[in-house]
Amino acid sequence: MAKRSVDFFFDVISPYSYFGFEGITRHRHLWSTPVRLRPFYFAGVIKQSKNESPPLAIPIKEKYMYKDLVLNAQYWGVSFRIPKDYKKMMFTSSSIEAQRLLIAAQLRDEKLMENIARGLWQRLYGYNKEIFSRHDMESVLRDRHVKDANELIESSQSDEVKKILRENTDEALQTGCFGAPWTTVKDASGKTTHAIFGGDRLPQIADLLGEKFHGNLLDQAKSQWSL
């Protein structure tokens, strides 16, 4: 059978990206399908897709979402609290610097990027501290024992990094993206055959890839945290 691959587009401001990221990274070791992790820019997606009714804009969906986030966090076994003034933060704060930092880290080393992404999510959704300023980034890099942290932050401002973030966002948009996370399945020729919205479709994604869904794989998670 032709070799398929999967691309996972995510933004650290998005809690459902966090759950999707945990799900797909815990499964990757058990799958033979190549998995590419693609940081993209959530606010750019919302704007470009003209998605004017995110769940937070509708009170009853907002209420549901807070419960649903806790349900998801419990399922995936990640510590999670809703940040104070969450709605305001989601509508006014920009994750662009954090996303650029992830691209810069990925250029250096894939594992480093994953490590920093988890650090950013834990800071924002585990400890409810911001992840938007240079100071915030420095703090995460320190917590995660990243070498040459200042150089990494400097390199996140390069044209190359900005270009990759734009390209990732554009590629997701071209496949119909309107939110995060966004997952695409490609056939052996690199053509996108499926595009999937949300952090809760891993059973279906696995099925499309001819792989198995193993649930929340909490044991894998524990070994990742001990890194």
Partner: protein
């Protein structure tokens, strides 16, 4: 042992997916599943929700997503080209009331009736809105006293049953369909929107993870 309530409307294809998925999973799970016909139009109105297809990219996505999700569960779903046009003229309120009438008098036929409504609207592209449509459904599933059932479906008693299901779901926070209430062993209730959370339900009720059967 866990218990699930499935609030649904036959207008909703994701309700059909949840219905069939839970039916299949329950061959292994053996839990109590209570069907709760409600009326999506009223749930949307009271909750201030908006249908996803109002955002163009979401509408396009939904067509692909329905195809993928129905194939995953082996459901013969075909979007009906007339659907958007019909939605301007008709509602499923009468169909939902027929389901509630069956649930009251011939509960053994409720599943078959719901499935036949979905097969008509979401597989064969047939209407489920007018008296003749309802009659055909009742005939197909072999219901007793078809005229009496249709008459009773217009009664205030059945209207009250529908109202009770609508208001219970909206009070719980429902804004769309399917709306699933999971009762765990500790007596806690968990509310789940949508058809794609079967792995969460398995986890909440400590049931085997059967992602696909």
């Amino acid at each position: 042992m866990g218990r699930i309530e499935l609030y649904f409307d036959v207008i909703s294809p994701y309700s059909w997916i949840a219905f069939e998925a839970l039916t299949k999973l329950n061959e292994k799970w053996n839990i109590e599943i209570q069907l709760k016909p409600f009326y999506l139009g009223e749930v949307m109105k009271r909750s201030g929700s908006r249908p996803p297809a109002l955002v163009k990219a979401k509408g396009i996505f939904m067509v692909a997503d329905l195809d993928r999700s129905s194939k995953y569960w082996g459901i013969p779903l075909n979007p009906c080209p007339e659907f958007m046009r019909w939605m301007k003229t008709y509602t499923t309120e009468d169909a939902q009331k027929v389901l509630l009438t069956l649930q009251k008098n011939q509960p053994e036929l409720l599943e078959a009736a719901a499935r036949e409504f979905w097969l008509r609207l979401w597989s064969r592209g047939q209407k489920i809105f007018e008296k003749n449509d309802l009659l055909e459904v009742l005939k197909t599933i072999g219901a007793r006293d078809i005229e009496g059932t249709l008459t009773e479906s217009k009664s205030s008693e059945v209207a009250n049953l529908l109202e009770e299901n609508i208001s219970t779901a909206v009070d719980q926070g429902a804004f769309g369909a399917p709306w699933i209430v999971v009762h765990d062993d500790n007596g806690d209730e968990h509310y789940i929107f949508g058809s794609d959370r079967m792995h969460h339900i398995a986890d909440i009720l400590s049931l085997p993870l059967l992602s696909k059967i």
